[in-house]
């Protein structure tokens, strides 16, 4: 545990492509995974995060610093999250949801999941398959049967994707 020296404790995080990042402990422990390591005393040296690449980790750290700088004001935190995610593309969002899941950061996990849901809602079945790397393994008959069973969910749906 950090001694109360007055200076903030800094942790060093290592991504799976060997980039090193310094981050204040107070911000990093937004991740339950990291907090557990700190509490267990395993955070002395470098904390390896085997499931997060450098680009994503940099983003997550930006978020950690940004959100922990905001005092307990849920409205302001929400608008920070909205702004933080507003310019992220689908691939980045998908990487972030995986990272948030691995790091066990529920507020980021919820925000990114909601953002992905918001993007998905307006897209066609083909778009979602492409973006999620889903191979359609239904036979044409099976696909028709599923579509028939949930017919109402396909009524009145307009999609706005063209790529």
């Amino acid at each position: 545990m950090a001694a109360e020296t007055g200076t903030p404790t800094t942790l060093t995080l290592k991504s799976n492509d060997d980039e090193l990042f310094s981050v204040a402990e107070s911000a990093a422990i937004l991740s339950v995974t990291i907090r557990n390591m700190v509490e267990d005393g395993c955070a002395g040296g470098v904390i390896p995060l085997d499931n997060v690449d450098g680009k994503t980790l940099a983003s997550v750290i930006t978020y950690m610093n940004g959100i922990s700088a905001i005092p307990a004001d849920e409205e302001k935190k929400k608008s920070y999250r909205d702004k933080f995610l507003s310019d992220k593309d689908f691939e980045t969002l998908a990487d972030m949801v995986l990272a948030a899941n691995y790091l066990n950061m529920s507020c980021l996990m919820d925000a990114v999941s909601a953002k992905i849901a918001q993007v998905m809602e307006k897209k066609s079945v083909g778009w979602v398959r492409r973006k999620f790397g889903i191979e359609n393994d239904y036979t044409p008959e099976e696909e028709a049967a599923v579509k028939e069973e949930h017919k109402w969910t396909f009524e009145g749906v307009e999609t706005d994707d063209d790529n």
């Binding site: 998908a94 990487d95 849901a117 979602v128 393994d137 239904y138 109402w152």
Partner: protein, 353 residues
């Protein structure tokens, strides 16, 4: 062609497919979490994507805040499945709204009426409320709207309300016949009743009610308990002479109006009835006392109507407060004495109280 692909492009492509691989490897729990943020309709739609996704939407997060089915076509069986699905996931707000007024649906599932987490429920044309002796326990339900739903029996409604210990708002629209409708609750603060059904005996016993709205044309008889907390009421009663017992109906209305006396400081208007003049006024009524008249427009209109239509009236006594200014007093007396009288034998007396 292949040679034309630059190293940069090729690296991008590799990176892109790595990203796709990672996404297609998203664990089920993460996908389910994402789906929990989609509206119900869109999360069900993902079942078309592939076999793995076929049922993922159904495992979406363990609690549902708001669940709504609006104007969709589904069988009774599907509806039951849906409702059970929502109840099992601790739904807090449930809206089932269908278009058809013609209610051909079966019973709503019983589990709906023992849902420990429901806070608000709106049911519209979506089936029969099965409650008769079965358990009703909706300990958190505050808001209940029942729009064109049917009840297994008249007492189903009473029984349903009695199972909602913290109910604050109740709205009922009725389009089918219900012989006896009893709304009793010590906690209801807002009560809205809109009856378009024939021959209902309506009984209201809601002492805490602050806002009361009644739109009614077909009740046979309205009985109402104390309304001492009332601060606002919108009452729209359409007179219908085809009541089996018109006298009883009129009396029940007078009693209802008497309930408003506590809070009603001012009546803002009066409209001359469009229907034919009641028989009692035409051939029986001999003495009328009107009290505390201040010369307001609607008061004079009521007096005018009574004087014109009471064909066998012998005496009308009009008393007004002594505090009335002498100008106002003179004006009022002049106006009233000029009103046409349906009965030649009628005397009008003015009393300053």
């Amino acid at each position: 062609m292949a040679a034309a692909i630059t190293e940069e492009q090729s690296r991008k492509r590799v990176k892109h497919s790595q990203s796709i691989d990672r996404i297609s490897d998203l664990p089920d729990s993460v996908i389910c979490h994402i789906l929990s943020f989609l509206r119900t309709k869109f999360s069900v739609r993902t079942s078309i994507l592939c076999r793995r996704w076929m049922h993922l939407w159904a495992y979406k997060s363990s609690t549902i805040n708001r669940f709504g089915l609006f104007h969709i076509q589904c069988s009774d069986y599907q509806l039951q499945t849906w409702v059970t699905f929502a109840v099992v996931r601790n739904v807090q707000k449930l809206y089932l709204c269908f278009l058809s007024k013609e209610d051909v649906r079966g019973f709503l599932p019983r589990c709906l009426f023992t849902c420990k987490t429901l806070v608000a429920m709106r049911l519209r044309s979506c089936g029969v409320i099965p409650v008769r002796r079965a358990a009703v326990c909706l300990p958190l339900l505050k808001k209940l709207h029942l729009i064109y739903v049917r009840f297994e029996a008249d007492e189903s409604l009473t029984h349903l309300i009695s199972g909602c210990p913290v109910l604050r708002e109740l709205s009922i629209k009725l389009s089918h016949a219900m012989a006896y409708c009893n709304v009793s609750s010590p906690t209801i603060k807002r009560l809205m009743l809109d009856f378009k059904s024939d021959g209902t005996r309506l009984e209201i016993n809601t002492p805490a009610v602050k806002y009361l709205k009644i739109s009614d044309s077909f009740s046979e008889h309205i009985k109402c308990g104390v309304l001492n907390s009332l601060t606002k009421a919108d009452i729209n009663l359409i007179n219908d002479e085809n009541k089996p017992d018109y006298f009883l109906y009129s009396r029940s209305l007078l009693e209802l109006i008497d309930r408003f006396r506590n809070f009603c400081e001012e009546i803002q208007g009066w409209m001359e009835p469009l229907q034919k003049v009641p028989t009692c006024l035409l051939s029986h009524l001999k003495i009328i006392n009107v009290v505390n008249i201040k010369g307001k427009k609607h008061e004079l209109e009521i007096i005018k109507y009574l004087l014109r239509n009471a064909k066998v009236l012998e005496r009308m006594e009009i008393s007004y407060p002594g505090s009335l200014g002498s100008n106002e007093e003179n004006n009022m007396l002049k106006k009233i004495s000029l009103f046409q009288r349906g009965s030649g034998a009628c005397k009008v007396a003015f009393v300053a109280a």
